[in-house]
């Protein structure tokens, strides 16, 4: 017993003075890595599952197109296409959008410009086909269907 008491006496309290430093370090890490969402997604999106997933390494060549059901019930129940912040009225508006997006890609990577289709799992194939038809018209044929890794 005596020995225990002796040990207790010698133990110093752990200094918490450096705690703010540690936390700040973490804070700065997250501040730097965080990319705040540029677009406000106005349609529902839950990714379908797949297994043979590929990743696009160059983020700069990818443009995202959302397809889903409007979150705002005033906008109806039909699936809609969202490009950047705007809900498109017709698939034909995609042409303009793609041309615009393509001009943002560095010239040397322009041939690799890929459209990432973020389609809600419950959306119908029809609307996706409409998008693809438009993309074929303007020869922007690289497409990636966004998907999550499906559990076996």
């Amino acid at each position: 017993m005596a020995q225990f008491r002796k040990q207790n006496k010698t133990l110093p309290a752990i200094s918490t003075a450096s705690l703010p430093d540690i936390v700040f370090m973490l804070l700065f890490f997250f501040m730097v890595t965080t990319v705040l969402r540029e677009t406000d997604v106005k349609v529902t999106y839950s990714a379908p599952g797949a297994t043979q997933l590929e990743q696009i390494e160059k983020k700069s060549v990818v443009s995202h197109l959302y397809v889903g059901f409007p979150k705002d019930s005033k906008l109806g129940k039909e699936a809609r296409i969202q490009a950047n912040d705007v809900l498109l009225n017709a698939p034909s508006e995609i042409k303009q959008w793609v041309a615009n997006e393509k001009s943002k890609v560095p010239i040397k990577d322009r041939s690799e410009h890929t459209i990432s289709l973020k389609v809600d799992r419950d959306a119908k194939v029809g609307i996706v086909t409409d998008i693809e038809t438009e993309l074929r018209e303007i020869d922007s044929r690289r497409v990636i269907y966004n998907a999550n890794r499906a559990g076996k």
Binding site: L19, P48, Q52, L53, K124, V125, V128, R136, D139, R141
Partner: protein
């Protein structure tokens, strides 16, 4: 006045600093979305006017249909999704064994059509299975795992001579690649071995990333443009 000031200035208590920092930290933790751009890649066929005519015997086309109720019909027979991968693999690797199935992997094409009202999730699952069948076959031919095959990276492969050799061998020996492509990239007399390797690697990567070693491009053309009815005996023209 002076005296008063010096009395009033105290050291600021910094003990709450950690709390403030934690609060900010949690805010950023919550708002951070580590974006993932994972998915299934596909190269769409050119627009309708540019479609080249593909002559395809009926036996060389594996017809996969999905209706508006998300039911699968394969070669005229209803099928469960888990059986599709094996079915596609068997079809591709038939090599003329079964007279009603494909002549060779090079001729084989998978036609995949869905109804407009099919759910996107179903479309993705079926497409995934077809891709998986192709990936498994190719990975097996290369002697690498499917995961390695999907994530095949040219830069990494450069450091692995074994993989380059395999890619080379793969292109030369198997009939999974059109002979034209192999001829183009492996002009044996002209180039040094290193250069050839580099070209092969480029070809392999290009094919893998763009057209899935020519397979999927082919099948995709057929997928979109395949006529509704195919005459039984004659080779049919697509589009």
């Amino acid at each position: 006045m002076k005296k008063r000031k010096s009395e009033g200035s105290q050291e600021i208590n910094a003990s709450s600093m950690a709390d403030i920092a934690f609060l900010l930290l949690i805010f950023f933790l919550v708002t951070t979305t580590i974006a993932s751009d994972k998915g299934l890649t596909i190269i769409l066929p050119p627009k309708k006017t540019d479609i080249t005519v593909i002559e395809q015997n009926e036996r060389n086309v594996y017809v996969v249909l999905v209706n508006s109720k998300n039911q699968l019909l394969v070669e005229g027979e209803p099928m469960a999704l888990p059986d599709l991968r094996a079915g596609v693999k068997k079809f591709i690797l038939n090599n003329g064994e079964d007279k009603k199935s494909s002549d060779s992997p090079k001729d084989a094409a998978v036609s995949f059509k869905t109804d407009r009202a099919t759910k996107h999730a179903t479309y993705i699952r079926v497409y995934d299975e077809i891709i998986a069948a192709y990936n498994e076959i190719r990975a097996e031919k290369l002697g690498i795992s499917v995961k390695d095959y999907i994530t095949f990276d040219k830069e990494k492969a450069k450091k692995e001579p074994a993989l380059i050799q395999k890619a080379e061998l793969f292109a030369q020996k198997s009939n999974y690649v059109d002979q034209d492509v192999v001829d183009n990239y492996l002009s044996y007399d002209k180039d040094s071995r290193d250069k050839r390797k580099q070209r092969m690697l480029d070809a392999f990567t290009a094919a893998r990333t763009s057209s899935k070693l020519l397979f999927v491009e082919k099948f995709y053309d057929v997928q979109k443009e395949y006529p509704k009815r195919i005459s039984k005996a004659e080779p049919t023209k697509v589009e």
